[in-house]
Amino acid sequence: MNNSKSILLLIVSFLLSSAALFAQTDTTQTQEEEDYSIYDDLEFVDESAKRFASVKVSGKSPDKLISVGYDFQGSYDMDADAFGAFEESTQKINSTHGFRFGANIPVISKNNIIIQAGLIYWNYQYEFDQPNTISHPLHQTLNDNGLNTIDAAVTIYKPYNETSFFLARIAAGTSGDYAFGDFQPMKYNRYSVALLWGKKPNDYTQWAVGISRTYRAGELNYLPVIMYNWTSTNRKWGVETLFPARGDVRYNFSPRSMLFAGFDLEGTSFRIGNDNELEQPYNDLEIRRSELRFRLKYERQLIGFIWISAKVGYRYDYSFNVDRVKNGEDFFRGFFGDQEYVMENSLTNPLFFNFSINLVSP
């Protein structure tokens, strides 16, 4: 009996001591008074540990992991140049609109390297005012098929000390009047690369310079790239620029609500397939499509990590010319080349809006 009592006492005391260990309290702010000055000069335990420039800039808009949106351009005229037996022709387009999807997912996210995989899909539908009067093959294919672009990219951020970093972006895209399930051959893929070197002198400033192989201006070009992200110390104002792709002045109403004024340069080279009704010999044609969008943008947290983004502005046609690119083997004209376009088209400039729902990054 005595033994049983001892066992019982032992078990009870063990459970009581365990219960005391499990008991807990939690408040956001710790209550105890502490001399925080003891933490001023602490060294890493691992003496080989290094500090690296963080990719984040205080006050900057959050990165978008997943984005689903809709883009709409209002009414404008499209003048298609004479081409073979076809005369120059102008058509009114009531709207150009389409669905936009984007994803940019961190694959590796460490202090000393971040690798992100990205994918975008943008669709353009052309709503002609009088489709029955179309006589030009360019108008015809836009009316029949619209345009699609799919772009896969890898972005690498590589800091190598507390203030300096490299940034690289490599992308492959397929753009044209193809339909899903009937993609164009790989030889028509277009490749872009941007390489930058930069500094982050403090939490509020980050800049980088570099060079890019890009289709932003519609056709292959080699352009300098300038990245500049800055936030004022009161975190109300900022600049977010990746020239020539985009540039913004930002006003932060709060960390969850921001207004931007700036521009986007959107463009790539769209291959025209042969699958239209007119069946004319226009193989290997590509629309060098590029547009500058001057706009206001408002972004705010909707709930949790879901943000909305709304843009409104003026779309300026930079290029809608057409080149013949034999067998998909692209060439470089740059700003000073003298190769002639197959068609020099022109578009008037409408207003546009864009709306998207986004899942933002931690």
């Binding site: 066992i7 063990f14 807990q24 956001t28 702010q29 602490l42 691992d46 540990a49 984040k56 931690p362």
Partner: protein, 155 residues
Amino acid sequence: MKKIFLTSLLSILFISISYAQDAAEADRLVGVWEPSHGKAKVKIDKIGEKYYGKIVWLKIPVDPETGEAKVDKNNPDEKLRSTPLRGYRILKDFVYTGKNEWTEGTIYDPENGNTYSCTIKMTDENTLDIRGYIGVSALGRTDVWKRLKMPPKKK
């Protein structure tokens, strides 16, 4: 009876030793750590059976706008916006689940006032992979924290 007593005592001893070993393994998280941005130092303590981390040092402790000590001004809860950042618990409710991982916790980012689900993985004795995520772990970001030497004990 003697046999029962001995068996029970051995079981309790075995459980206690295992418990102590687990606790010691779990307690490796306790210490002072520096996030990758280097703007803060975070002290992780054990409270009950869970682990919590509070900010104990800020690179820039004074808000340049107000000239006062930084407070949690980005908190979505207005009542908490005057809470000092130093001493603020940004890691909460972590439980050791074995294999060098602490889970079921959250991390708070004072930069934007967001709280994320979070897991902590100790990749070596002096390095933590802190992964904040949204819903599923794939939608997140990992930050690597380094252990700092503990400050000298007060005499």
